[in-house]
């Protein structure tokens, strides 16, 4: 994934996460996902024109089942509310995608806002990921209740986040506002103490 070069773009956890590495048998693996394109999408899901406009522009149909993610290739649409979604797309893609969406949505009661920098993403995986998250996460992540393709918003410790499971390993991506990222990182590493933690380039 190409990173924006000049001028220097930084993530909230740049220089904060410590060096990459750690025990190979660590219970969790943590890393920051550097720069994703993110668009907040609002619109009426009952409006077929809206759905097809979005599907046309994004290539992904906006999910209408609460708590689900629809993804095609490297684009995903996360359900956030009955008329609200988050589109996640590779960095650099968001500007063009937004332009395309705005064009497609013209005349509808719908809109997009670029929120690529309004969140950063922390990835947590490993056999003990669920155990560690449960220390501060009130929502059930048991495979019977949650899994890949699902997204949920709640409070993780003392922050509000969007959490999405990306695979069965399990791996989760946590979208957190940048100003809270250091706190959340500290919290996660602290909660991992018991099971061991490896830092990964995400």
């Amino acid at each position: 994934m190409a990173e924006p070069q000049t001028p220097t773009a930084r993530t909230p956890l740049d220089g904060y996460t410590g060096p990459i590495g750690g025990p190979s048998d660590a219970g969790v693996v943590l890393g920051e996902v550097r720069f994703q394109g993110k668009l907040n999408l609002r619109g009426n899901p009952d409006d077929a024109a809206f759905r097809s406009a979005v599907t046309g522009a994004v290539g992904v149909e906006p999910p209408i089942t609460p708590g689900t993610v629809a993804a095609v290739d490297d684009r995903a649409i996360l359900w956030l509310g009955p008329d609200e979604w988050l589109i996640v797309t590779p960095t650099g893609d968001e500007t063009a995608l937004r332009a395309a969406l705005d064009a497609a949505l013209a005349g509808l009661r719908a809109s997009t806002v670029d929120v690529s920098d309004n969140y950063t993403t922390i990835r947590i995986g490993g056999p003990k990921a669920r155990w560690v998250l449960a220390k501060g996460w009130p929502v059930d992540l048991h495979p019977k209740a949650f899994g890949p393709g699902r997204v949920v918003q709640s409070n993780l410790a003392l922050t509000n986040v969007i959490l999405r499971q990306t695979d069965d390993a399990p791996t989760y991506e946590i979208l957190v506002r940048p100003s809270f990222a250091k706190y959340l990182w500290d919290w996660l590493t602290d909660a991992s103490l018991e099971v061991g933690c490896r830092i990964d380039a995400a």
Binding site: A9, R109, V113, D117, N118, K144, R177, F180, K182
Partner: protein, 1003 residues
């Protein structure tokens, strides 16, 4: 080292290959792995373990587990010491260091025991009746009372250990792992459901661990336990929690479990929590918490060695410890006989079985006779003898109704008394869940009645007294609960159980004695709080007739055991005293936690650097690297000022202000709230939420707005910009960001859902650097070539898109300082890059970063208010003299009607004015109050207070703003700010102290 003189040669679940050394009050003693401190002390024939709370009477171990009221121990030392632990729950570890409590100088000779001599002056509630004269001496009395009270000592310093919390979800949570709970877990677990089974003890098995006369499937019950536990352990969806007390039952099947993770190891581990508080949301709950045996209330029933019958038996069977060689059994049911036989089988010489029942019959009674144990039917214990240990009991036959004596007393020597008063089902959790109890006269116990939650009680806690039944009911409950949740489950076969029945129980709440209660000796009901039957009777006599009054007046049931052994006895005695039956007395309220739980476990890891999030901006690394001092604004850390070497606070702020007025200065304004507003009705929406008019604002133009609450009071302010016809960018105060966002959403969703408006919080999408000062246009020009920065092309209160330092930016020409100023918004990832570029490009212009303090001074010089500082939720725009921002022509906006209320137009309202001190160097303290007439001393009538006050380098004098009653009409008046030690005369002025013509904002 003592030699475990009471340890039996064999038997019990302790590991004799692992001897452990421990200390009690400095004495080195030995026990085995698997012991509790209590069993190890008894093994060493130590019965005296503490002194009672009020009378300092010698006390021993009463029970076997969490019900223990007496044996409270101070464990460990220094920062790791813990007071009030029950010896019966402390698992022995090598090097354990325990101390008795509530005694001085030592346990055997306790000075406090003089209280015992004056005990007659200390009936229940005595302190309400005395220590009143002379009034001035109360604080002295209180000091003495406080030091005499309290049990153990707090740790000396910060706790070195970790505590964690853990959320969990399950289909079925089972509290208690005795036969009932194990059976339920098995039945539920086999369906594949998610099951949590928690027991407060180190091992599962419950009462079966302490009984050796029960077989299940033909083998000892403990073998069945081991099999079941092994099967449960093999089930992936079953979580077994040992040393885990289900301690709270909250709404909607939310329960907490306090797990003691490392306590039994005796050492804290750096990475592992010492304790963990589980917070479980359960689909269904099975309560299988068993029953707690009742002590009997007879004269001087508190001597060390007087114990619960199941405890005496449990020490023998489970720990291989004979608490005494000459036990006397006092029983109201068959269970006491089982204890007698268990002890007799272990070489004890049973002194006799005092059976409260007049005519006990059944196989156990017959067996006692066969064994040659004397059964004293229909007898009472009328007195006990002994000091630090029970030595003998006096017994006498009772009248048929048990209210008096029917014969002469006789003395039986004994070194232990085992009391079997019947069982109280452990209904604590059931009650916490708001289930309704019902009194069962036959069992003489409160049983679970109507459930409030999706829950069922089984086994001992439901009043079952047989293992057979407990297992059957457990299986049924396990199945029912998982089936109710839609799981398919097959019924496991109930194993065949051989056991003794419990026979009939005679509930005799207060054993008769040779003298009326209260005259001689003490009949203890609540051992820990030294509450006697006489105290309970006194309370009812004095009019404290509600059981809640009795509890509070006598403190019965209010100790650290919360009356686990005493409450039902107390209710019954109160009932007798009032002449009503037990259900008419009712119970007191059961509350969490079931057993005391560390404060640390509830707090978890929300301590130290994780106590609260600290929010930082993209530029924060620069501020840190460059020596900024910070201030907390809400959750944010904001740069407050940037001192240079040797500078004071004031010097630094003066310098920053001066540069902002004369050169170019730079502020990190990223924390301002930002809301993206889209939709065809966006302008109309702003019209409704702001006090001024928005419809005509041109694209690319900005406007300052006031938001009021419906009551007309100022709520927030900020600048909002029209980006397109249907698109606005709103800013809010830093502290108000979340509140405003929620407020606007609420109106949209609930009042005006028809409006075409969509809000998105973009506070953190944008990092904001605000540059100000006459040279700031020059600076911006160096970094930005695609915006014409000239006054005409880019006027005040306008916005332009462009590129600054090669970064895509939104630039706003707005000013909170009165100077020429640009607010540069860039995506957060570039915030630091922008800041660095500005600092580099402005170096030769003398660019200076300024912090929030200089920002405050700069705005105050111009009379700009800060919501929350110059307002406090009771201030209207009119009070602020800002009538101009309140539209007269708009038919409605939020706050318009509120603002029209009569009290908001009174001339004597507090209004914002400027204050000038006579001495221009004197800076009034913010919060100082303004008076019209100074009195020699308070009280004096206040007119209001100073809201903002600074030294203004630009005005060359101190400046202040204040909210003053009728202030707008007082311009020119001299008022006073009386401070401690001196009074400052001030002149009322306008609120603009610098550049009143506003000539500087265009540069």
């Amino acid at each position: 080292m003592a030699n475990q003189s009471n340890r039996l040669a064999a038997g019990g679940r302790v590991d004799r290959r692992r001897p452990l050394v421990f200390r009690f009050d400095g004495r080195r003693l030995q026990g085995y792995a698997g012991d509790t401190l209590a069993s190890a002390l008894l093994a060493n024939d130590v019965h005296l373990v503490g002194r009672s709370f009020k009378y300092h009477r010698p006390r021993g171990i009463l029970g076997l587990g969490s019900e223990e009221p007496n044996a409270l121990i101070q464990l460990g030392r220094g920062n790791r010491t813990e007071p009030n632990l029950r010896a019966t729950q402390i698992e022995l570890f090598d090097g354990l260091d325990a101390h008795s409590q509530n005694r001085w100088p030592c346990l055997r000779f306790d000075v406090g025991a003089v209280n015992s001599a004056f005990h007659r002056l200390f009936p229940a509630g005595f302190y309400y009746k005395t220590f009143m004269w002379p009034a001035s001496l109360w604080s002295t009395y209180e000091e003495v009372i406080r030091h005499a009270a309290g049990l153990g000592r707090a740790p000396e310093g910060p706790d070195p250990d970790r505590y964690e919390r853990m959320h969990a979800h399950c289909d079925v949570l089972i509290a208690g792992g005795g036969p009932a709970g194990l059976a339920a877990a098995l039945a539920a677990g086999r369906s594949g459901a998610r099951v949590i089974l928690a027991d407060e003890q180190a091992e599962f098995g419950g009462s079966l661990l302490g009984d050796d006369d029960v077989t299940i499937g033909g083998t000892p019950a403990v073998d069945w336990v081991a099999e079941v536990v092994a099967e449960l352990e093999s089930m992936p969806e079953v979580t077994l929690l040992r040393r885990a007390t289900v301690n709270g039952y909250y709404d909607h099947n939310y329960l907490t479990i306090a797990e003691r993770v490392t306590d039994h190891l005796g050492v804290g581990l750096p990475t592992v929590p010492r304790q963990r508080l589980w917070k479980v949301r359960a689909g269904r709950v099975v309560l299988a918490t068993g029953a707690i045996e009742r002590p009997l209330v007879f004269r001087d029933n508190d001597r060390p060695g007087v114990m619960l019958s199941t405890a005496v038996r449990g020490y023998a069977v489970r720990y291989g410890v004979l608490a005494g060689r000459r036990p006397l059994i006092v029983t109201g049911n068959d269970d006491g006989y089982r204890t007698a036989f268990a002890l007799a089988d272990r070489q004890a010489r049973v002194a006799g079985i005092v059976d409260l029942r007049t005519d006990p019959i059944g196989p156990l009674v017959a067996e006692a006779k066969n064994r040659g144990i004397e059964v004293l039917a229909g007898h009472s214990v009328t007195a006990t003898h002994g000091g630090r240990r029970i030595e003998a009991a006096e017994i006498a036959p009772m009248t048929a109704d048990g209210s008096g004596l029917a014969g002469s007393t006789r003395t039986l020597e004994c070194d232990v008394i085992a009391m079997a008063g019947g069982f109280n089902p452990t209904v604590h959790l059931f009650s916490q869940s708001r289930g309704k109890l019902r009194w069962d006269g036959e069992r003489a116990a409160f049983l679970p009645g109507t459930s409030h939650e999706a829950e069922v009680s089984v086994g001992g806690c439901a009043g079952t007294s047989s293992v057979t039944q407990a297992i059957k009911d457990g299986i049924k409950a396990g199945l029912d609960q998982v089936r109710a949740l839609g799981h398919t489950a097959r019924q496991p076969a109930a194993p065949a159980v051989e056991e003794h029945g419990q026979g009939e129980t005679r509930p005799l709440w207060l054993l008769p004695s040779t003298q009326p209660v209260g005259r001689k000796g003490k009949h203890f009901v609540d051992f820990q709080n030294d509450v006697t039957a006489a105290d309970l009777m006194l309370a009812t006599r004095e009019g404290y007739r509600s059981i809640e009054h009795v509890k509070r007046y006598t403190t019965t049931g209010m100790g650290t055991d919360q009356g686990k052994t005493s409450n039902v006895n107390a209710l019954a005695i109160v009932g007798q005293s009032l002449g009503v039956d037990v259900p008419a007395v009712g119970t007191t309220t059961f509350r969490a936690p079931y057993t005391p739980t560390t404060i640390g476990a509830y707090g978890g890891r929300d301590v130290g650097h994780l106590f609260a999030p600290t929010r930082t901006t993209a530029m924060d690394p620069w501020h840190r690297a460059n020596g900024a001092k910070f201030e907390h604004v809400g959750d944010w850390m904001r740069a407050w000022y940037y001192p240079k070497a040797g500078e004071t606070f004031r010097q630094a702020v003066d310098r920053e202000v001066t540069v902002a007025r004369n050169g170019v200065a730079l502020l990190d304004a990223s924390t301002l709230g930002k809301i993206d507003i889209r939709g065809g009705d966006a302008a109309e929406f702003l019209n409704r939420v702001y006090t001024n008019a928005w419809a005509k604002l041109g694209t690319g133009r900005c406007r300052y707005g006031f938001m009021l609450k419906e009551d007309g009071m100022v709520m927030d302010d900020g600048v909002t910009t029209r980006l397109a016809d249907d698109h606005f960018h709103m800013t809010t105060t830093t502290g108000g960001a979340a509140r405003v966002m929620n407020w606007l959403e609420e109106y949209l969703q609930t009042e005006w859902p028809e409006m075409d408006v969509r809000l998105t919080s973009v506070t953190e999408q944008w990092a904001v650097a605000s540059i100000c000062g006459p040279k700031c246009r020059e600076l911006l020009g160096r970094l930005c070539s695609d915006i014409d920065l000239g006054n005409d092309a880019f006027p005040f209160m306008a916005m332009r898109d462009g590129t600054v330092a090669e970064i895509p930016a939104r630039v706003f020409r707005i000013s909170f300082t009165g100077e020429l100023s640009f607010e540069i918004n860039v995506p957060t990832r570039y915030g630091l890059a922008l800041w660095e570029a500005l600092m580099t490009a402005g170096a030769d212009l003398g660019i200076t970063p300024y912090g929030t303090e200089a920002m405050h001074v700069l705005r105050a010089e111009k009379g700009f208010i800060i919501v929350g500082q110059d307002t406090d939720g009771s201030v209207t725009p009119l009070d602020l003299g800002m009538d101009w921002i309140v539209s007269k022509s708009k038919p409605d906006f939020i706050g318009k009607r509120g603002l029209a209320r009569p009290d908001l137009h009174k001339p004597d309202r507090k209004q914002l004015v400027g204050l000038l001190t006579e001495d221009p160097t004197f800076v009034l303290p913010e919060g100082g109050h303004v008076v019209e007439t100074v009195k020699p001393k308070p009280p004096m009538a206040m007119l209001g207070h100073v809201t903002s006050s600074y030294y203004s380098p630009s005005a060359g004098r101190s400046i202040a703003m204040a909210l003053v009653k009728g202030g707008h009409a007082r311009k020119g008046q001299t008022l006073y700010v009386p401070l401690e030690g001196r009074t400052i005369p001030v002149t009322v002025a306008g609120t603009v102290f610098f550049d009143p013509e506003g000539s500087r904002r265009d540069g």
